[in-house]
Symmetry: C2
Subunit: 262 residues, 2 copies
Amino acid sequence: MAKVYTFANQKGGVGKTTSVVNISAFLAAQGCSALVVDVDPQANATSSLGLEEHLAESLKSGDEATVYHALIEGAPVSQIIQTTRRPRLHLVPSSPALAGAEVELVGMLARETLLRKALAPVLRHYDYVMIDTPPSLGLLTVNALTAADGGVIIPVQCEYLALEGLGQLLRTVNLVRDSLNPRLTIAGVVLTMYDTRTRLSQEVADEVRRYFPKQVFKTVIPRNVRLSEAPSFGETILTYSPGSAGALAYGALTDELLGRQV
Amino acid sequence: MAKVYTFANQKGGVGKTTSVVNISAFLAAQGCSALVVDVDPQANATSSLGLEEHLAESLKSGDEATVYHALIEGAPVSQIIQTTRRPRLHLVPSSPALAGAEVELVGMLARETLLRKALAPVLRHYDYVMIDTPPSLGLLTVNALTAADGGVIIPVQCEYLALEGLGQLLRTVNLVRDSLNPRLTIAGVVLTMYDTRTRLSQEVADEVRRYFPKQVFKTVIPRNVRLSEAPSFGETILTYSPGSAGALAYGALTDELLGRQV
Ligand SMILES: Nc1ncnc2c1ncn2[C@@H]1O[C@H](COP(=O)(O)OP(=O)(O)OP(=O)(O)O)[C@@H](O)[C@H]1O
Ligand SMILES: Nc1ncnc2c1ncn2[C@@H]1O[C@H](COP(=O)(O)OP(=O)(O)OP(=O)(O)O)[C@@H](O)[C@H]1O
Ligand SMILES: [Mg+2]
Ligand SMILES: [Mg+2]
């Protein structure tokens, strides 16, 4: 039975997609089977995993089924899952059409539980399900939190403005735990884009460790340009630049996550 | 009569808030009167302008009026406007409560025009109104686009993933122009966080200039740590580090924007 993790933080550009894609790649490389679920209308996880160009085109035009069809039309996820270039790493793709789902979900029955129900039939085929979310705390992210029995992983960029929204994020996590998913815990907090050259990174990291005393991963992800180059080739860091500081950090983070499993 | 600019891009962390706050500071320093309108529930523009601590606390708890009250309860914006430490620079603050507005707006009459109507009575008191938006294309951003008679300014981070969503953003701008605000133009595209050390920045910049042949500002904002430090002191770059590369770039960008006025 798969462990389902959701990566969430409403602050934009903090490394949610980069973490989902690269941790999943390391899990698959170690022999685990991983399913990435892209619940962001920007579909960055979908393109980062290099879905072939022609498929990417048809996703945009609406011919291929995406997570939108699973949520709004009840299409079976097993028919939406795509394989990627890497063995044991599968993807439920997204597309810009998902942007309309936030409003469409508002009037649907049990709207917060639709993703959880859609994923249930495929959990037994995977060791891990990793859900990427948009930078907001709307119904798409709430769906992802409701599905996350393994817990939520919170990437926090080592920047001052990234500290601001953590209180709101925790309130939302608590609300979802109380009324929708009693098993929702904070599986971990990942410090990202740490820049050793600036004092600011250290100050923010210290502040985050005070705020989440037990949950911050020891592994800190440094700012590393290889991580931002990899998606333009549709590759993960593991195949694009395996010896880079970014690859070493995500490798160590994956090991640390595996070590936290109960 | 004020020129109203909205800064929008659904990709997260691309420099929307940093651009609104710092361009507004340069406009005020040059003798113009500027009103920053924070339409993001993260309220990063509000905290970047150093709203006194006690005020920031009460904003979070809900005692003080914010843009939420103007949109959802019809409170007059003139009663919500706050002054900041800098002369001629005023603020309509936001707070986390605004996150609920996305859903509340769905059922309201003429919901996309509520911000435009709320701002109308105060336009004659300012030379510029600069609207910051959340990283999404939902009703809050649509409200901001509907209000933006001066046009939309699109910050684009010089990263591959930031290219992905531009098509969707343009479709939304065209939709708003066709059905809500015929005066909505693209006032400009700002390249941000340009890193001279990486090839990626140059490639992305070239791609953006191909995509928006006439609208990309000549001034490129470099990646500069002073810009990310300033908000932690509640200061703009102009007072925090006036000689930094970030300050020089935003000063030049402001001059370029003024030069484009018709
Ligand atoms: N450690 C890192 N070092 C350098 N660049 C990084 C790092 N992590 C992510 N990036 C780059 O920074 C940008 C933001 O990261 P990413 O898109 O993963 O964040 P996100 O939280 O998913 O953003 P959004 O809120 O828009 O969904 C991307 O261009 C990415 O390639
Ligand atoms: N040119 C720059 N150089 C270095 N850091 C920058 C620059 N511009 C912005 N930053 C920092 O990068 C982060 C993202 O910028 P900012 O918050 O302005 O983006 P945004 O688009 O408003 O994000 P969101 O989508 O969450 O609203 C912030 O921590 C900010 O301080
Ligand atoms: Mg993302
Ligand atoms: Mg912002």
